[in-house]
């Protein structure tokens, strides 16, 4: 009996390893990258650099939290990148040209995201169209839609000094011109905690995992699979909307036609953080950590004299690498 207990304990540990192991490695990679860039460049280790790394990470992190859900169902959401720009354009446009209060613009931004998520989810879950195709199309559609609604021009959300500029302080409080507190990280961490709870301790999360793990078994258990499948995409859309606000708060202007490629950073981050490309497994905290790897590369590479474009190549390769590890692990399990 005692033997059996230790065996159970050992098993438990190994499953803990499975969840925690990759995260642990990712944390080590983050630290290593940070140390590497700090040693290589004196400018990198400045407080302002760190603040700006954080600034540029918020919107990617938020997208990544959201996209974790469709990924866990075994799908994907490619529309979040251009979607983000579209939602931000529309919100900013209403504020700038239609005298919407800033909170009203923010609300529209988020709701727009939810609406596109709903469209994606319905097309995937009810109409059975492959997720990558649906979201590739909504990716293009949101890109066109955003530009059309605002008339093809860049949109500026109120600056910090203008009325309504308070919203920029949501993410960064400026004490004076030099000292800035990256308060956004607090909100991000809170959202990570909330969505971790949603994923692990609510029906939405439980059934999201169920769909990705064995959709037929989930259906046979009497779960309304279609509804929860749609919800995964709605969550992704909601967070793309929130990411749009983070983006608007950090960048001076939002340009139509941009945004393609953001989704890759978010999805890449999630997969590096342990979300399985074939669905079923993944965690929100893992996605958060994975995104930081990508953000560090993105902001760090220019400091060591490599153009930012290298980051695109490296992200692509890292993505393949992360999936490869997943594939090899599965092959080993089979044999």
């Amino acid at each position: 009996m005692a033997n059996q207990n230790t065996a159970v304990a050992a098993k438990k540990k190994s499953s803990l390893d499975k969840l925690g192991g990759q995260k642990f490695i990712v944390i080590l990679v983050i630290i290593a990258l940070f140390l590497f860039f700090s040693v290589m460049s004196a400018n990198f280790r400045k407080y302002t650099t760190i603040v700006s790394i954080l600034d540029y990470s918020y919107y990617i992190v938020l997208m990544s939290i959201g996209v974790t859900f469709p990924l866990i169902t075994g799908g994907v959401d490619l529309s979040i990148g251009t979607g983000l720009i579209c939602y931000s354009l529309v919100g900013g446009y209403l504020i700038s040209f239609h005298n919407f209060p800033v909170w009203g613009g923010m609300l529209v931004t988020v709701l727009f995201g939810v609406a596109i998520g709903l469209v994606n989810g319905t097309l995937v879950a009810v109409m059975d169209i492959p997720p990558f195709l649906v979201t590739l199309c909504t990716c293009m559609i949101t890109r066109g839609l955003g530009a059309i609604i605002v008339g093809g021009f860049g949109i500026t959300w109120p600056t910090a000094t203008q009325p309504g500029g308070w919203f920029r302080n949501i993410f960064k409080i400026s004490i004076d011109a030099r000292t800035k507190i990256p308060i956004g990280i607090v909100w991000v961490l809170i959202l990570v905690a909330v969505m971790s709870f949603v994923l692990n301790h609510t029906k939405i999360g439980r059934y999201t995992i169920g769909i990705g793990s064995n959709k037929e078994a989930a259906r046979l258990s009497g779960v309304n699979v279609k509804f929860y499948h749609i919800m995964a995409y709605v969550i992704s859309g909601l967070f793309a909307g929130l990411a749009a606000i983070a983006y608007s708060a950090v960048f001076a202007t939002v340009q139509p036609g941009t945004g393609a490629g953001f989704e890759l950073e978010a999805i890449g981050g999630a997969i590096i953080g342990g979300v399985s490309a074939s669905g079923g497994a993944g965690s929100v905290t893992g996605s958060l950590l994975g995104v930081f790897v990508i953000c560090l590369l993105k902001t760090g590479l220019p400091f060591i004299g490599l153009q930012a474009n290298w980051q695109q190549i490296i992200t692509g390769l890292v993505l393949i690498g992360a999936v490869l590890i997943d594939v090899i692990k599965k092959r080993r399990e089979v044999h």
Partner: protein
């Protein structure tokens, strides 16, 4: 309707293709009604310009979709081919013919990369596409130092390459495109490559158990696609001369739209080159028509998106009914 279906001519050509041609004609007439300039020869030439490079992309992706896979890195990869080869031409003075080969070679390399990962490492095609999309954009930017590349004008010494698209008022590009489309149709329908690609797209396991090296043929589809993307790049610059790093995404959707509209099934196993060709003309016409109606490119993004979803949905519905 039944009588129409049983008409020998309809049976031979396929109802879908006839309907597509009708759509093409109706669209042309409608655009012509709203915009009189649409009937001008120069308009037609510019539609053909667009159809040309898009056609190569669409032909390429037809092979990949026939295996049941997908490649939506083709647009950025095409730009990557045009940028790298163009940069060699403009900055290193490489002569035109090798430059064209470089373009095709770059496309080929991406095809090998994608195909290898999908076939031999079983990485989902959409992940591979995503990675390739980024890698190709990054590579092009790094190579050209984020500068756009302008290929030589017609009047310059090396401008002869633009004759690939048109000589005077003769749309040479159209003929080359149709020629290559015929070759693709032959490959798909009359050779071992095509036979295996279509069969494995339909039932990979049955083909494997017949003693066929399915991985090799699956990879071949991606390689053909990559090569055609390299060719597409040459025709793109022949028509438009300037390429900018970081773009090209929208052509993915348009190429896939042309392909699925033409009757190639997303589930694999069913592909039609002639359908793809007609589909591409519809997309090119749409693009030009939207501009002629005074709307901008953005409307086209939306309309193509909706077309793809609709076309795939009909495919899904058809399969559901069969089961």
């Amino acid at each position: 309707m039944e009588a129409l279906k049983n008409n020998p001519f309809v049976k031979k050509v396929g109802l879908n293709r006839i309907l597509l041609v009708c759509v093409l004609i109706v669209m042309y007439v409608l655009f012509a009604l709203f915009s009189p300039t649409f009937l001008s020869y120069s308009r037609i030439l510019s539609i053909l310009n667009y159809a040309c490079f898009l056609g190569f992309l669409s032909l390429g992706v037809t092979f990949v979709i026939a295996t049941g896979g997908i490649d939506f890195s083709i647009g950025p990869v095409m730009f990557c081919c045009a940028l790298i080869s163009g940069y060699c031409l403009m900055s290193y003075g490489v002569p035109m013919v090798p430059v064209m080969l470089i373009s095709i070679l770059v496309g080929l390399c991406f095809g090998i990369f994608n195909g290898y990962l999908v076939a031999y490492w079983s990485i989902p095609p959409f992940i591979v596409s995503m990675a390739s999309m980024n890698i190709s954009k990054g590579l092009a930017s790094v190579f050209t130092k984020t500068q756009s590349v302008s290929w030589p004008q017609s009047t310059s010494e090396q401008g002869w390459y633009r004759y690939l698209v048109k000589v005077g008022n003769i749309p040479v590009g159209l003929f080359i495109f149709l020629g290559i489309a015929i070759i693709c149709a032959i490959i798909l329908n009359k050779t071992k490559i095509g036979r295996y690609i279509l069969c494995l797209g339909s039932n990979m396991e049955a083909v494997r158990l017949s003693g066929v090296n399915v991985k090799k043929w699956q990879m071949t589809a991606y390689i053909i696609c990559g090569t055609l993307v390299g060719i597409a790049a040459i025709f793109f610059v022949s028509a438009y001369t300037t390429v900018q790093p970081g773009y090209g995404d929208q052509y993915n959707n348009e190429a896939i739209a042309g392909c699925v509209m033409g009757g190639t099934s997303m589930a694999g196993g069913l592909a039609s080159v002639s359908g793809t060709v007609i589909g591409v003309f519809i997309i090119a016409l749409l693009q030009e028509g939207i501009l002629a109606l005074g709307m901008n490119k953005n409307y086209q993004l939306i309309i193509t998106g909706i077309i793809v979803i609709a076309a795939v949905y009909f495919d899904v519905l058809g399969r559901r009914r069969k089961n």
